[in-house]
Symmetry: C2
DNA sequence: TTGACATGTTATATTTTTATAACATTATGA
DNA sequence: TCATAATGTTATAAAAATATAACATGTCAA
């Protein structure tokens, strides 16, 4: 898989609120699949598992089966990767860029973005 | 709009490769809508505009009309926001967490995540 | 051993996103 | 002014993501 395709899986995986919440839940301690399903009991258990599979495919979750339970661990490395390669650089100097942008826009009267 | 809903729009907006490429293209200089459509000529012009509307709704693009051209500027602030609130903290200490995770996993034989 | 618990699989309906075409509007420059 | 360039709008088809139900498998503990 190309690095772009891989990076895209990570971005797509992070694009759903539930999945970011799952990441938050796993941040400090690993949890079993059942524990996660219980924490997100507003949605169906199979739906939770489907979301977990998306995270697992993006390598954001690593899981280990022990007996009949599956322990799901958060893997922060893919996030670190997009953080360093894309998000960090894009956010760098944001304040300066914003003020530069503002002076640009002051030259014109009509601003269309809300 | 709640801050979560707002944050979600940003994550969703970044979930498509074309849209990240549009962000890359606008990073150094603003571009007109036509220039962008030409740069991404593999896809339909209206499709490019639809993607731009997604970015604009997430406030990632601010555009100004001058005469009959529209200048599209990148607004890095929303990215800075998710960078600081979510991505940075999640990426912090990733290396340490990974090594801790590895020792955890060594205790078990079967690893299911690919 | 065996019942039930934890997890997994498959199928399918629903919703959202993406892509395109056809048509409309506005502004500029010859 | 008026042809055309640049952009915008609306409708719709196609693809992808999301949510759920029904059923299947493997494991533990009494």
């Amino acid at each position: 898989m190309s690095s772009e395709a891989y990076e895209d899986k990570v971005f797509k995986a992070l694009a759903a609120p539930v999945r970011r919440q799952i990441m938050d839940a796993l941040r400090d301690n690993p949890m079993t699949t059942g524990e996660l399903a219980e924490r997100f009991s507003q949605i169906d258990r199979t739906t939770v598992m489907q979301h977990m599979r998306v995270l697992e495919t993006a390598d954001l979750i690593i899981s280990v089966k022990r007996g009949r339970v599956r322990w799901n661990h958060l893997n922060p490395m893919p996030i670190k990767a997009i953080h360093e390669r894309w998000i960090g650089p894009m956010a760098a100097g944001a304040v300066d860029k914003l003020s530069a942008l503002k002076s640009e826009l002051e030259q014109t009267s009509e601003i269309s973005a809300k």
